[in-house]
Symmetry: D2
Subunit: 374 residues, 4 copies
């Protein structure tokens, strides 16, 4: 396929589930959006040459390597896309930044906020663009929520309540995994990070937190007939103060029996309110005091072409985007940002910010004290 | 309790479940509303003197009789309230009307529209006031729906869809009852009458109908080890044409497994729409094209003091009325009508109208032809 | 109305909105339930003789007095029913208890837990029965929730989330009222008390709390053209630890724009989950791991005769109780308790408990420390 | 990209919105599913050579032609994919079938059932495989609904109610389009066809129908300052009898203000019930009499990996598929069918069947008589 668009050559490092999802996002974005670049699947790296060759064939990359450093050093590559296990994120990202590459990295960025800040500092110093994969923020209804706040239709924001609850760790017999590792693990870090990212996306910076993190199951099967101690939280809660004066709370849990995607928020302002649940993420519920008395109520707004970029996917309202479509939007946003058409959507600085919030809540919970966010 | 209000002396005929409900409504209405009358429970009639004495004691009536004609003849009584089996409605009502009493009668008014018309004619000729117990129409949200239509907020009405579905006859082993009697029985007569009353309450007269009535279980246990043939419908449907030009449909079913109170309607106009379900009857869902593009959606309006007479029951919105409260409103409306403060809310003429619609649908179904409503 | 039942003679003190509601509850309960007593509206007290005479006439009491002490001293009265302003609750209740009367008192019992404990101690020492008006707990669906927990159908309870949010104080121009008085005022005391009562009703005792109380509007119009400083919370939050090992949170707010009755809870156990909102209080949502894989989901259970005492109000399921019906149930429970047919449902001891929780959360919030509940 | 899979070479005819959607489906399906073929975008045809060249470049096809007959004649092409205006479907499809190609064609298959039958006859005679794009049937929750019926979990099916309502023609000022042409136009043909396809997918063949088709706006702007008469229905309703003995109804409307995707069904059997709305198409509501008394209710089942092929898109439940994902599933099903791994999912015979139902309803409505389906 030839065109006049400049090429954007991708080097993918990591070929697991998220690697495939990213490649799917690249493919879909180029069909759904009028992208500023032609995406070229240039190279893929895996742990060995053999695995990399197979991945290149399966995913459609032209070249491959068993050594990720080869991709970072390759002058033809424009973007390094990192979907490796979390522990490798920092080293790869810093190397890529040094080599002047733009970097797209899956969440969570790192286990520790200090590492994430180091990465953000490096990217800013090098002048490269970055993106972390907080794809729920790519939902057109999330943008609508932010628009309704920014337009003043809710008045001054007073209250916020955020939740991210699922049940994938509810079974105490499910084994110890990297998600149970103190280095960045736990419900708060794993999915509470989404709740925190959403809270700041909508209301702006959180100023301080009071945390409440609970380990419900303090050991998990180690996969070898024994048990391994678990220190991370199964549920994490926090009271919040925003710099805009609003107060609120968030809660994260991975043992909430029956809940599969309860990423909810409710926001109350002086003139209106919003309610949202990711369980039905093509809807936003909006209450407006501007409606006539006796006719007020939460209005179920269904996503449609009025809510950009829904119309890219479907010309008719109410047909609904899917989870994978949010990833497609995420890819398109990064390319627009690389072309200078929009600011970085959720960059390493933002990723570091979320990690800092998670650490502050953990710290607060340990010390039973309010903790200021720097 | 003394006061300056005139007294309204009630003579109740029929002391079963509905009789008790009416007495409850009289008692509640006098506490909830500022009624134009002091209600006096004057006399009650039952099948024998002994039963009547017991009923008087239990329900709080001053006098009693084993012969309902004694109540009709009693010059002290202002209102005859009929909650007997349906087959007796006509004879009692006509006698009461002849004696110059106002008449309050449970639904269905009669088995046949011609009988109901005779009763309505008699009442009008005698100049007495009448009411039939279609209590769903007393819901403040139903009034709100009618106001939204009357105000033009929905524009011109184009479409109507009404349902009344429950499952109390879903078990083929449940025995033959008076509700299975061809004289006025069947799902359409029993609960479809509600759907028809609601349709005309909201959109005005139905001009013609095409019916589809189905007997799913053509026999029921007779209670003596045998079976009795069933001819009435378990489900009745109709296409509708309203005189205002709208088209629509209603459906009634008493074999709709899992549905307990699916009395729903959906109305589409040129400027807006309404959705309602009796399953959540303190809510009305309103869609308005007057809302800004991108912010439109069905608005869940919760009942509150803005929706008269909700405020009589509770000063705070969202607290919700119950089923029995609708009966209380019905009683109050009749008293207001007797005092000349409002027109008859749902009188014998309206009750006859509903019977005529039911008969027209049955007739249409039998003949597979559209039937004009006189 | 005569019967063989013993009489229960009521002395009502306080004739405002809640006084009327109680009288309505007495009247309705005697018609809905088969009560163990004939309720006699014996005497009513108001601030002056004239007001009391008018109240007696309006509410149907036989006698009246401008001095509540006359009722307490009247040997014919069995129950003192207190619906006065909160500040008078303690003095009247202690006098009534001294006189050997049973006491039914509106919520909140007192401004301070120590006062409430004194009242509970006195009642227990005197052997009289007491009840505080937490009527949301009288909902049949609340009982169903407790049954599902007690039966083990949810497994071991791990998580709790409770909310009570309304918007009746959202307008900063709404004036200072007794609800803004530091002695027992604020959102947490006013409606958070409901959230706390529900939490303990369902999960048992709370062991410790961490509070977060926020005054959003620190002054309110004083009604004389000036302003009065407000110290009480507009929103109160708390992290919770239950003695059964579960953790959770509650939130109370009276500035939640658009919310009229968001008294919600969500409970997660090892085998199932519950979700409830008072906005639709005739429904309970139940998730069970016992359902087959691929067929699990939150089940919307509609209230019906299976859920006692719903059947007392209506023989058919799905017809829905209203807010006032919960008061009727509350009255009936107290009478059953007085007749020895059931334990005290929500007595002064329970009322004192709720006050203690409110105070502990306030205290915790001030000190930013976890506070143990005695 | 090389692999051992056989190639499947696509010839696409029609490059408008649906053409792009199909190409997107081909691309996505090969990444989401383990397809039996490598899809090769071989050739594309458009109205002129120039347009075709541009389309090939934009959509990624290797070759192009301004004459669709060249593709039909090309021996290298395995599948002809038709997304042209409806009027061309028949001629192209018959030519493709004659040439021994498999044919994938957008809905509606043709304007008239007799044409569709001719196409189905030809395909069967030639032994080629066909598919029509009824993509709502590709929803995993639709398959779950069918499984619940087939497994007997609903018992014997008694009642069906189907709706497909949108509002894209609600504005009388929206101009006359091909959808208003009597040859296959109208709400019933355009979207009622979905309601009919769903009804038969779930309950099996419809035996007879009674129709009610209404033209609400009998003229539309012709785009040249005048008006053009409209004869097709804006709303089409039908009573239904299924060969399994159930009765039911469907309704189609494109003037239902506020409704964007109200493709709903409700099914009642002797042991359970289902409710579904395409507005929230990742959910199915299931009521089972097998649940214990007092714990029954409609269960909101959320789509997840238990519901094949959801797991191909996402490993976690509750994340939700989007509208375009249904097209991806449709493509995969056709390839599986071509590989002999499953029967034809919705072939020309099925497409002809839907057209026959639409025509029967139109015919019935005109004649006001029940019409048997052959």
């Amino acid at each position: 396929m030839t065109s006049r668009k400049p090429q954007l050559r991708i080097g993918l490092i990591g070929t697991g589930f998220m690697g495939k999802t990213h490649v799917f996002g690249f493919a879909a974005a180029s069909r759904v959006f009028d992208l500023p670049y032609d995406i070229v699947l240039h190279s893929v790296a895996d742990r060995t040459d053999e695995l990399a060759v197979a991945a290149a064939r399966g995913l459609g990359f032209a070249k491959s390597s068993g050594d990720w450093r080869r991709l970072v050093a390759d002058g033809e590559i424009d973007v390094i896309d990192i979907t490796t296990p979390n522990a490798l994120h920092k080293e790869i990202a810093l190397a890529a930044i040094s080599a002047g590459k733009h970097v797209y990295c899956e969440k969570p960025l790192t286990a520790w906020a200090s590492d994430a800040r180091e990465m953000a500092d490096a990217a800013e110093a090098a002048g490269v663009k970055t993106q972390v994969g907080f794809n729920y923020l790519c939902n057109p209804m999330m943008a609508l929520a932010r628009d309704l706040i920014a337009s003043g239709e809710l008045g001054e924001i007073r209250l916020y309540r955020g939740i991210h609850a699922e049940d994938y760790m509810m079974d105490p017999a499910s084994p110890f995994t990297f998600r149970h590792d103190p280095a960045g693990g736990g419900a708060l870090a794993d999915i509470g990070s989404h709740a925190l990212a959403t809270a700041e996306y909508l209301l702006g910076p959180i100023a301080r937190v009071m945390g409440d993190c609970v380990t419900v199951y303090d050991r998990r099967p180690d996969g070898h007939g024994g048990f391994r101690a678990v220190e991370v939280d199964d549920v994490g809660r926090a009271f919040l103060r925003f710099t805009n004066g609003a107060s609120g709370s968030i809660e994260a849990s991975w043992i909430s029996t029956g809940r599969k995607m309860q990423h909810d928020f409710e926001i109350h302002g002086t003139k209106g309110a919003l309610f949202f649940t990711q369980e039905r993420f093509n809807e936003l519920h909006f209450y407006s005091m501007a409606d006539a008395a006796g006719r007020r109520g939460f209005r179920r707004i269904e996503a449609g072409p009025d809510h950009d970029p829904y119309g890219r996917f479907c010309v008719a309202p109410g047909h609904q985007l899917g989870f994978n479509d949010l990833k497609t939007i995420e890819v398109a946003r990064f390319l627009d940002c690389l072309a200078g058409k929009r600011p970085e959507p959720f960059n390493f600085r933002a990723g570091a910010r979320v990690q800092a919030l998670v650490e502050a809540i953990h710290d607060s919970s340990r010390r039973s004290q309010w903790v200021e966010i720097p």
